[in-house]
Amino acid sequence: MVDTTYVFLQHYWWFIISLLGALLVFLLFVQGGQTLIYTIGKTEMERTMIVNALGRKWEFTFTTLVTFGGAFFASFPLFYSTSFGGAYWVWMAILFCFVIQAVSYEYRSKPNNFLGHKTYEIFLFINGLLGTVLLGTAVATFFTGSQFSMAKINLTNINNPVISSWETPWHGLEAALNLHNISLGLAVFFLARVLALLYFMNHINHPDILARSRKQLLYNAIPFLVFFLTFVIWLFVREGFAVNPTTGDVFMQKHKYLLNLIQMPIVLVLFLGGVVLVLWGILKSLLQPYTKGIWFTGIGTVLAVLSLFLIAGYNNTAYYPSTFNLQHSLTIFNSSSSKFTLTVMSIVSLLIPFVVAYIWYAWKSINIKKIDEEEMKNETHVY
């Protein structure tokens, strides 16, 4: 007999993971901005303003990534075990990108910083470029699959008890050779740059930075749309990894992800609404002297990414498919934590609105005015 409470909790936690993933993609505007420091900032003061505008937000992106990882571990530990232990090189590369970011803001402008401020800016650039592309590529494997095997019975083999194994020697690097994966990686990269430009327009009070950001917005919005549409159209026409709800067997189904959208109208509305908001924020910022596009595009990003995560895991879909053996694919049912653990964490998750509220209040308090040259000259803690 199906335990409906447990099923609800599994769906609830997939929603939380999806929401965290969506917020993470929005917050990647910090990474996008890091690749634009020299494109937008032509003088040292301009670059200082840009770095400080980003530097006051980098920790939120970082914390969201860490929380995303922690929540995934807690709610779907089999994914954590299978993907991280298997796609070793991709995850390690992502981690290295974030390690070098974490010190770069604080150390960049400090005297006697050993590596020189240029090196820290290169670190920021690497984080902005590889961090976004690799994260997007890794997430795309939720739809394209990976070559792994998983058998819990292995635990009883005392000489080799490992449950999950990667079945290619590339350990995740093969994901970067799949064009469909890369299209999402590049879409995320250009989206992060678009969001960063809109953030600069909204957050820095400087006419030259505003003008350059608007110009660059067009140059980055076009490739973003090209790669995003490539990914989405490809996704909707390809076969997807469906799960038989009675037997749990995984099978290939034509247009699975398009069908998921159609069969879940609320998710469809979220997706379409998200895409419209993203485009609205970009177009309004391009065509008018408008600086609040970040809100539309930002919210749109969260909605669109949330809906993509939801169609990966809901509606009897294997969210982490195995192309090595379909029956080893991970679903929100076979990879989740126990009912008790999900219940405990659900109670803790009731704190999330409170967390969001204090973040909002604190941000509002220190962002009462835009960053300008005068503030950079008088501020005691400058990156």
Partner: protein, 520 residues
């Protein structure tokens, strides 16, 4: 038949040890300095004295430099549970993952939100809101330590869980037992208080350097007073929680206690080694005297471990060979099994799991019930089933022994130091005691050595277990090439060492510049 790749296991352990030890260079200072800064800012808020604000901002600058690299080294650890210990992630993810998720939701966001206010809010928010933010950074940092230490304590003493053969993993059934296990409480209090002591010594040491140079005298005097009071209180507390930790180790991890004391043959009324040197190449059953020399306090180990001066403390040999009486966690008197018997029972448990799965596949309910019972009866020794040699349950005794004695010795030195410092402050003589000021500077590296030694005792002493008695390291690793881990080990080594050099140079430069030129 395939076999464990011991090279993979050892490199994976080395990588985790490397990243954990680097992370632990920076975290203790964050934990303690956050509170010291909060005290200082509270004085500014209460008195309105601008000098307190200047002092607060100076220490805050050093806090920021240290905090950034602490964050950088921390992210790796969380993900390494998946990348390098994938079997572990599934086997106990149901229990271990929850504290990590709660840490993210409750602590990291609090820390990262209010740290922005702390650094950038001086001229933007009210004095009161700023002060609250500084306190919340301190609380957030310590809350994050709570959750990760709860998770670590659970690995040392797995409580509040049961093994579910259907999912082939351990599952949580009592969150409060996980959170409030005696090991968790002691571990949290002992670990954070070690951070407070380290931060206090850091502040005293740097202030002493200013006094020796005759610079920033008011800042140095005030900082020394605040840090010395904080340091004395927390170092005494550190000793008390250390006693609590050792007591829990005696009950739950007797092999670790035996390694900490170099005790090979158990005895009633066991002495505590104050200072000693171990006999090199000692085997657990060769009958050689384990010590080249020792200074000991009679019966104290028995008293500290079991609250009775005449209690029997098992040594390494006893734990390998079994046959001694002990009290189990439910208070029952039992005779200890030998390691060989435990390995046998572990194998029975593992085979019972395999047979249970087979029976389930065939729909054989009687077979399922039989094997479930067999599994439950032997699960206590499940992890032993993956071991081949009884000797493999012995951790590295010399490393554990010396680390333990260095940690304890330095801990008592710190208490004496703070007492002396406060006494001289009371006599108003500390400003002219150049030897004391020089000693204060020396205390900073000693604090770091003690701090690292503590983690070595905790983690090396519990080998070969990832989860005590339930999962050994050999059964917890990911299935990747040993060469891949070697590459990432050296990458981490290079990058963390580079960042450490950068951090130290920036820190020294800021200290030399002092508060006025230090971005304040």
């Amino acid at each position: 038949m395939e076999h464990f790749d011991l090279s993979l296991v050892n490199w994976s352990r080395a990588q985790f040890a490397l990243t954990a030890m680097y992370h632990w260079v920076f975290v203790p200072l964050t934990l303690g300095l956050a509170f010291i800064i909060a005290f200082m800012e509270t004085l500014y808020y209460k008195t309105g004295d601008e000098e307190w604000k200047r002092i607060t901002k100076f220490w805050m600058t050093l806090f920021g430099i240290n905090f950034a690299i602490g964050v950088a080294t921390g992210i790796i650890l969380e993900f390494e549970f998946g990348t390098n210990w994938s079997n572990y992630s599934w086997f106990v993810g149901d229990i271990f993952g929850a504290p990590l998720a709660i840490e993210g939701i409750m602590a990291f966001f609090m820390e990262s939100t209010f740290i922005a206010v702390m650094f950038f809010g001086w001229n933007k928010v009210s004095k009161k809101f700023h002060l609250i933010s500084t306190w919340l950074v301190a609380i957030g940092a310590n809350l994050s330590a709570l959750w990760i230490l709860v998770a670590n304590a659970w690995m040392q003493y797995p409580a509040g869980m049961f093994f579910n053969p259907d999912t082939a993993r351990n599952e949580m059934h009592n969150f409060w037992e996980v959170l409030f296990s005696p090991i968790a409480i002691n571990k949290f209090l002992h670990t954070v208080s070690s951070g407070y002591v380290l931060a206090a010594l850091f502040v005293v040491g740097i202030s002493a350097w200013y006094l020796l140079k005759g610079r920033n005298v008011l800042l140095a005097k005030r900082s020394i007073i605040i840090a010395s009071v904080f340091g004395l209180i927390t170092s005494v507390f550190l000793a008390l929680t250390g006693d609590g930790s050792a007591y829990q180790v005696a009950q739950k991890q007797p092999m670790k206690l035996a390694a900490m004391e170099g005790l090979y043959e158990g005895k009633e009324g066991a002495p505590l080694i104050v200072v000693g040197a171990l006999t090199p190449g000692k085997e657990y059953n060769d009958g050689k005297d384990p010590y080249l020399f020792r200074i000991q306090i009679p019966k104290l180990l028995s008293f500290l471990g079991y609250r009775s001066g005449d209690a029997f403390v098992p040594g390494v040999k006893d734990i390998i060979e079994g046959g001694y009486n002990y009290t189990d966690k439910d208070g029952n008197q039992k005779v200890a099994l030998s390691a060989e018997q435990k390995i046998e029972r572990g194998r029975i448990a593992i085979q019972a799991l395999a047979d249970y799965k087979n029976a389930k596949e065939k729909g054989d309910t009687i077979g399922m019930a039989y094997n479930r019972k067999l599994l439950d009866e032997n699960f206590e020794y499940f992890g032993y089933g993956y071991l081949n040699d009884p000797k493999s349950i012995i951790p590295n005794v010399p490393l554990t022994f010396y680390s333990f004695h260095i940690m304890v010795g330095l801990g008592f030195l710190f208490i004496a130091f703070f007492i002396l410092m406060l006494y001289l402050i009371y006599l108003r003589g500390f400003l002219i005691n150049k030897w004391l000021l020089r000693l204060s500077i020396l205390m900073i590296p000693l604090a770091y050595i003690a701090s690292q030694a503590g983690w070595i005792v905790a983690e090396v002493g519990r080998q070969p277990w990832v989860i005590q008695d339930v999962l050994p390291t050999v059964a917890a690793v990911s299935r990747i090439d040993s060469s891949a881990v070697q590459v990432t080990f050296f990458l981490f080594f290079i990058i963390f060492t580079t960042l450490l050099i950068a951090e130290l140079r920036i820190m020294f430069t800021q200290i030399k510049k002092g508060p006025k030129e230090g971005g304040n």
